[in-house]
């Protein structure tokens, strides 16, 4: 299957050219760009590993591409995403987030059901990959 997290997952995987253009958009908006990776793709897993610090004060996407490519080279079988953070008053949050790398095979999620009272079920989603310990998942 194909996990559709991030802003552009329904489009074909972005080329380096397209990624650069998105990063330029973020820099034009004065957002700080950061790179994160994980092998636990559960949708509630919000704290991915940071690859380096968020990059403030950059003028050009080339610097960010260096980091993105370094992350993809170091963790080729992890999910890697690019985040853009806006620190202006009233926002102070992420304004754009999209995937730039994913493992070759994505097994998907197990849906656990626990029967409770009446017809209520307690659901839990688990990525099949997390049956393995971290680092051995993809």
């Amino acid at each position: 299957m194909r996990v559709t997290q991030g802003a552009f997952s329904f489009l074909p995987d972005l080329t380096d050219q397209q990624i650069k253009a998105q990063v330029e958009y973020c820099l034009r908006n004065n957002w700080a760009v950061s790179v994160e990776y994980t092998d636990d793709i559960h949708p509630r897993n919000t704290y991915w590993e940071m690859f380096g610090m968020p990059m403030f004060d950059l003028h050009d996407a080339a610097g960010v591409m260096l980091e993105i490519n370094a992350c993809r080279k170091t963790y080729p079988r992890h999910y890697v995403r690019v985040n853009a953070f806006d620190s202006t008053l009233g926002w102070e949050t992420i304004r754009l987030s999209f995937l730039v790398n994913r493992p070759l095979e994505e097994p998907g999620f197990r849906l656990r059901r626990l029967e409770a009272q009446g017809r209520v079920q307690r659901y839990a989603i688990e990525p099949y990959a997390t049956d393995q310990p971290p680092g051995h998942r993809y």
Partner: protein
């Protein structure tokens, strides 16, 4: 990277060179080199429209020369020139010295250098007194690491960053002998010669004009004398020395006016006269010297 959306043409280049001529006195070799690079860009653009292959030129530079010969000034200008020509995407300048690139302990240097490089991408990285990066006498020195990283980026990301080194000619020569890889990646070794007396006079006029002052005729003649004498003395720093001299002249001008400042008119407030120059110790020393011989 080269050639922005609107292709730059010969007229734009001529306009740029005219601006340069106006803003910078002398510096003929520099202006010649810039003209060549600009011409190449226009030719590349024409070649491209004819379907001919085009390879981006090497743009890394090394400026050598004595203090006050315009190295930093030109480096600052280079960023916006390259941007106007379409070689630098963003056209900003990041100016650093050794301490901005080299760390204090193991593992500190690489991220520090990479940070600086990322910030400079799209523009120009100016490294003043770059030879301090290399300290062969200290085996625990981390400067070599910074040099390695620089070399890689200068080679592999030529479209993303232009590096300009600057410093004294002899020290730079020794630095390059020990780091031939660096020297070979510099396409433009430009020497900044000392200014002539006539050029320094024009620089003085320009500086005064920018400050809102002017020489009267006697003062100009006096300043010419001053320059002749000063240039013979030690530690002459070209344009910087001119600036210092002008600052001292302004102080004497102010002292001269003191006591009658409220009544001074616009002209009096902005005209440097001969006595403001002649009071200089440099000229007294010259006179003494002349008397003794």
């Amino acid at each position: 990277m080269s050639d922005p959306a609107g292709a730059i043409g010969e007229q734009d280049v001529l306009a740029l060179l005219a601006d340069l001529d106006r803003e910078l006195i002398g510096l003929a070799p520099v202006k010649r080199r810039i003209r060549d690079v600009a011409a190449l860009l226009v030719v590349d653009s024409a070649r491209r429209s004819q379907g001919l292959p085009v390879a981006p030129p090497g743009l890394h530079m090394c400026f050598t020369g004595n203090p006050g010969t315009g190295k930093t000034t030109v480096a600052l200008k280079m960023a916006s020139i390259l941007h106007r020509l379409g070689y630098a995407r963003k056209g900003h300048l990041v100016a650093v010295t050794r301490d901005d690139l080299v760390g204090q302990y193991i593992g500190h240097t690489a991220p520090k250098t990479r940070e600086v490089l990322k910030r400079a991408m799209g523009g120009v990285l100016f490294i003043d007194e770059a030879y301090y990066l290399y300290r062969p006498e200290n085996e625990r020195d981390y400067g070599q690491e910074a040099i390695e990283i620089l070399l890689q980026v200068m080679e592999n990301q030529r479209e993303d960053l232009v590096v300009i080194l600057a410093g004294y000619k002899d020290r730079m020569a020794r630095f390059f002998e020990s780091n031939p890889g660096l020297s070979s990646r510099i396409a433009h070794h430009i020497d900044f010669p000392d200014y002539s007396g006539e050029e320094l006079m024009r620089i003085a006029d320009l500086m005064l004009q920018q400050m809102g002052y002017r020489f009267d005729d006697a003062a100009r003649a006096a300043f010419g004398q001053y320059l002749k004498a000063r240039m013979k003395q030690a530690h002459f720093a070209n344009a910087r020395s001119v600036r210092n001299a002008l600052d001292r002249a302004r102080l004497r001008h102010a002292s001269r006016l003191f006591g009658a400042i409220a009544g001074a008119d616009r002209d009096a407030l902005s005209t440097i006269s001969a006595q403001d120059i002649l009071a200089s110790r440099v000229l007294q020393a010259a006179e003494d010297g002349a008397h003794h011989t």
